[in-house]
Symmetry: C2
Subunit: 300 residues, 2 copies
């Protein structure tokens, strides 16, 4: 059995043929054409799949979207607004399951299925990057919520007195800890870092402002992790995404905040860890929507 796995982001579109065990057999990627991504997208798929029969299609895509119907309106792809991605792929691959979920949910699924959280049935997989998102596994199943939007951990409020968030509320975790917000805060304090990787290099060299910026973001992430762990009685949180690659300047304050806040007796064993999968996580999670659908796909 092989599955076509697809991971759609604002910068690139990736696809792979994945086997039963979650191994990527072959892959391709192409830059996203924001105004009209469909032609380059299907050309990539046609070349990748060629004449092979795939047994299903799994897709992770940036939100917002309708779910499970899969009309997508990814923030960074203005050419797709209410674009019927699931239906269009179902036409191209008739007779097999075609399933679509939020990209952060796909990453969480991947970590549960084949990554750092294998066998851990109560966990959150989160991505701290340009945005802050996640997916929740409870009792061994992915939570979808009423409209497929469960997992929006970036909009738990880390600090009611914090900065305004693009969503319209104040102090959301995403408004504090996403990469661009972390860089913006550092620049307000006088840093000249232009982006997250530059800020991470400065922090690694001991730059005080850069270290303070990661500490501020890491502490906010850690606090929200602790509260979500109390609410959901979690065993593990996997923290991935670009910002999470900043290493100790982010992780040490984050883990300290978790220890300080996760004090209920049932949280003493809570683990907060780095991902087990690398850049393929989105593809592996998309494949799991088909290959391990009993745990990860509750819709029709």
């Amino acid at each position: 059995m092989t599955v076509l796995a697809i991971d759609i982001g604002g910068t690139k579109m990736a696809a792979a043929v994945v086997d039963d065990d979650g191994n990527v057999l072959r892959r391709d990627r192409t830059p996203t054409v924001p105004a009209d991504p469909w032609p380059t997208f299907v050309a990539m798929l046609d070349e990748l799949v060629a004449d092979e029969q795939v047994d299903g299609v799994g897709i992770g895509c940036g939100g917002p979207m309708t779910w499970p119907s899969g009309e997508v309106s990814p923030l960074n792809i203005p050419g797709w607004r209410d674009f019927p991605l699931r239906a269009r792929l179902a036409e191209r691959y008739p007779g097999v399951p075609v399933r679509l979920h939020n990209d952060a949910v796909a990453v969480a699924i991947a970590e549960h299925w084949r990554g750092a959280a294998q066998g851990v049935d109560n966990m959150i997989g989160m991505v701290v990057s340009t945005g802050v998102g996640g997916g929740i596994v409870s009792g061994g199943r992915i939570l979808d919520g009423a409209t497929g939007n469960a997992g929006h951990i970036g909009h738990v409020v880390a600090d009611p007195a914090g900065p305004m968030c693009a969503c319209g509320a104040r102090g959301c975790l995403e408004a504090i800890a996403r990469g661009p917000a972390t860089v913006a805060w550092a620049r307000e304090q006088g840093s000249e870092a232009m982006d997250g990787p530059a800020l991470a290099r400065l922090a690694a060299d001991g730059d005080e402002v850069a270290m303070a910026a990661f500490a501020r973001s890491g502490e906010a992430v850690g606090r929200v992790i602790a509260w979500c762990a109390a609410l959901l009685d979690l065993e593990m949180v996997v923290v991935g995404g670009g910002l999470a690659q900043a290493g100790p300047p982010l992780w040490e304050p984050m883990l300290a905040a978790v220890r300080e806040q996760a004090v209920l007796p049932f949280l003493t064993e809570l683990r907060v860890v780095a991902p087990g999968l690398g850049g393929d996580a989105g593809l592996v999670g998309a494949a799991a929507l088909v290959l391990a659908g009993e745990r990860y796909w509750s819709a029709d």
Copy 2:
């Protein structure tokens, strides 16, 4: 089919015989004897059940507890520490399912099964009373978490700069909004109210300090509701418990905070409502652990 339903709190122990539809056929209650509750408890059960054959036993009990094994250590019953309540009841009622969960989880189950949240498959039922607790239904099933402790909404931090909580963290919702904390805050501002009902009467008469106290607690509850709704993609939150009976002085600030914070597009239909069941909710939820166990009981 009839079930023996049991609701154990620090003040009273209640029991009922409940039919398939969740109707209470007959009931009894007895004051809790904190040092040694077992003798009066079983005397009540024996009189209530008499020679009738019950088809199962469902129990809601204050925490902490081990779950699903059901050794209970209710905070307000010092005579029970690691008391094997589930096992002891299984000995008295052999051959039928005996199931036990947290009392706040039982109330949430009751509201989903027979109360305000019937047919609403993504909801939280919460109790704002001496403590602040809750239970989560996602995808139509109760969430247990790793150790049966999912639903601890009282330990989501409403205000990182808030008062210390008994759990050891700062600013937990429970530390701000539980009844005794609401009264204590009012007294710090000069109120002479001795308890929640007295404070509620003052607020109903327009007393400014009492109204401010309920506004402070209501706003904290509303904000946490909004964040949990974002995280879990909820359709409804049911707010019960003694403090929630204070009416508009609590509800208006709470609903205003929900409206202000629940701004993501998928939350526009979020409803925050009063319970559909009265004081029987704990018993009805306990019965549902047996009568509708496929949704509410995942353990052995």
